[in-house]
Symmetry: C2
Subunit: 325 residues, 2 copies
C-alpha cells in the first residue's frame, strides 16, 4: 500500500505539562512519536513552535518524509472556538485567544484540525478503544478536573456555542462542596483527583491512620495514581472511602447520562480510574445501574477506557481523517 493510501496523519495531544505527537495509520498503529514539555509559561508562540517540532520529530522517528503526512489533528484544553481554531481561554495554559490552528498550519504547511482534549480522547476510544463498534457513547475523563464528551449516531455533540460535553459540572447536590467553577456540588467537586486528595487530607487531618502522606496531609504534592492503587489494595482507612466516594458520585452522574442519552457504552478514563480499573469502575457501574431506569442500562457497557495515554493522539488522528473525507 502506498503511503498516501495509508492516510497517514499526525495526532497531537496538547496537555498542561507535555506535548505528545504521533504518526498514525488507518489501523490506529503509532508509527513514530515524540514528547516534549509544553512550557506554556513561556507563552503561546513558544508552545506552538514546540508542538511543530514535536510533530516533525514524530515523522522523522517513523522514518517518513514530511510529504507523507496528510494532515494534523490536535486535542487541546478548552474552551475553544472551533470555527476559528482558537483556544479561547484555559486555566492550565494561561493564554487567551491563542490562534492554535492558524499558527500550527503556518509552521507545518498541512491542514490542521482542532477540538477539545476530552472530545478527542473520546473519539480515540470510540474508534480504536473501549467504545469501538458503538454509535452512541458517553465519556468521562477523571483527572485534576473532570471532562467529558458525547457521541450520538457516530458524531461528537458540539452544541450551539461548541461547548457541549462539560460533564464534570453536572450538579449532583446544589448544597454540596464548592467546585472550582464557582458553583456547588458539581461532579468534579465530588469525584476529581483534587476532590479525592482533599478527602484523604481531611481524613488524615482528623486523625485517620494512613500510609499515604508522611506528615498528616501537610504535603501539597499530588498523590500519584500508583500510590492510590497500592493504598486502596492495602485497605488504607483514608484512601478507600475517598476513592469509593469518587466512584459513587461518578455513578450518579453516569445514571443521569444513561437516563438522558441511553448510550450503548459509557467509557471512563483518566489516571486514577485507569490505575484502579475495575476496583473503581465496578462501583461506579453499580450505583449507575441502581439509579437509572432498568431499560436505560440494559445491555449498556460501563467500562474503563482502554487506550490510556494514547487516546488523545489516536482521537486527534480520527479528527483529522473526519475532515479529509
Amino acid at each position: 500500500m502506498g503511503k498516501e493510501k495509508r492516510d497517514l496523519v499526525i495526532g497531537i495531544d496538547l496537555g498542561g505539562t507535555k506535548i505528545y505527537a504521533a504518526v498514525i495509520d488507518r489501523k490506529g498503529s503509532i508509527l513514530g512519536s515524540e514528547r516534549k514539555k509544553t512550557k506554556a509559561e513561556l507563552g503561546f508562540p513558544v508552545t506552538v513552535t514546540r508542538m511543530a517540532e514535536c510533530a516533525r520529530a514524530a515523522a522523522a522517528t517513523a522514518g517518513l518524509p514530511w510529504e507523507a503526512i496528510r494532515a494534523i489533528g490536535v486535542g487541546s484544553p478548552g474552551p475553544l472556538d472551533l470555527k476559528k481554531g482558537l483556544i479561547i481561554e484555559t486555566p492550565n495554559l494561561a493564554w487567551k485567544e491563542a490562534p492554535l490552528r492558524k499558527e500550527l498550519k503556518k509552521l507545518l504547511k498541512k491542514p490542521v484540525y482542532v477540538d477539545n482534549d476530552c472530545n478527542v480522547g473520546l473519539l480515540g476510544e470510540y474508534t480504536f478503544g473501549a467504545a469501538r463498534g458503538a454509535r452512541d457513547v458517553v465519556g468521562f475523563f477523571v483527572g485534576t478536573g473532570i471532562g467529558g464528551g458525547v457521541i450520538i449516531g457516530g458524531r461528537l455533540v458540539h452544541g450551539f456555542n461548541e461547548n457541549a460535553g462539560e460533564l464534570g459540572h453536572i450538579i449532583l447536590d446544589p448544597h454540596g462542596p464548592a467546585c472550582g467553577c464557582g458553583n456547588q456540588g458539581c461532579l468534579e467537586a465530588f469525584s476529581s483527583r483534587l476532590a479525592i486528595e482533599r478527602e484523604i487530607r481531611r481524613a488524615i487531618a482528623a486523625g485517620t491512620p494512613s500510609a499515604v502522606l508522611d506528615d498528616a496531609g501537610a504535603s501539597a504534592a499530588p498523590i500519584r495514581s500508583r500510590r492510590l492503587l497500592e493504598a486502596y489494595l492495602a485497605n488504607d482507612a483514608a484512601v478507600v472511602p475517598a476513592i469509593n466516594r469518587s466512584a459513587e458520585y461518578l455513578g450518579y452522574a453516569t445514571a443521569a447520562m444513561l437516563n438522558i442519552f441511553n448510550p450503548e457504552v459509557v467509557v471512563i478514563g483518566g489516571g486514577v480510574v485507569e490505575a484502579l480499573g475495575d476496583l473503581y469502575v465496578n462501583r461506579t457501574r453499580e450505583i449507575a445501574v441502581k439509579n437509572c431506569f432498568a431499560i436505560a442500562s440494559r445491555n449498556v457497557r460501563i467500562t474503563a477506557a482502554s487506550l490510556k495515554d494514547d487516546s488523545g493522539v489516536l482521537g486527534a488522528a480520527v479528527l483529522a481523517w473526519s475532515h479529509l473525507h
Copy 2:
C-alpha cells in the same frame, strides 16, 4: 394546491385521560379535531378503537374524505418499543406490550408512526412553537411527573434502547426526597406537580396559612394550575415557596443540560409552567444560568413552551411527515 400536496396527516395525542386527534397541514394549521376520553381501564382494544374513531371524526370535522389523509402520527406514554410500535408498559394506562401501531394501522388503513409523548411534544415545539428555527433543543415537560426530550442537529435523540430523554430522573441530590421511580432526589421528586402539591400540603399541615386547601391539606384532589397561579399572585405562604422550589430545581437540571448539550433553546412545558409563564420560567432561567458555564448559556433561550395542548398533535404530525419523505 391539491390535497395530496398539502401532505395532510393526523396527529394523535394519547393521554391517560383523553385522546386528542387533529388533521394538520404543512403549515401547522389544525383543519379539524376531535377529543374523546381514553377509557384505558376498559382495556387496550377499547382505547385503540376510540383513537381510530377520534381520527376519523377529526377528518370529518375538517370536511375531508379519508383518502385525503396520508399518514397518522401518535404521541403515546412510554416506554415504547419503537421498532415494533408497542407500548411496553406505562403506569397511566396499565397495559403491557400493547401493539399500538399494528392495531391502529389495521383500523385506519394508513401508515402509523409512534413515538413517546414528550419526544412528540418537543417535535411540535421545535417545528411550530417556542424552539422554531433552532437545531439543538432540550425540552422539559412538567406534569404529574416530568418528562423530556432532546433534539440534536434537528433529530430526536432516541438512544441505544430507544429510551433517551428521561430528564425527570436526573438525580439532583442522592440524599433527596424519594421519587416514584424508586430512587432519591430525582428532578421529578423536587419539581413535578406532585412534588409541588406535597410541599403545599406539608406547609399547610405545619400551620402555614394558605387559601389553597380548605381543610389543611386533607383533600387529595389535584390543585388546578389556574388555582396555583391565583395563589402565587396573591403571595400565598404555602404556594409561593413550593412553586419557587420546583422552578429552582428545574433550574439546576437545566444547568446540567446546558453544560452537557449546550443547546440553542430549552423549552419548558406542562400545565403548571404554562399557567405561571415567566413567573416560573424566569426563576428557572436565573438558577440555570448561574449554575452552568457562561459560554454554555450565552445567547441560549430558556423559554416556556408556546403550543400548550396542541404540542402533542402538532408534533405527532411532524413525526408522520418525517417518515413520509
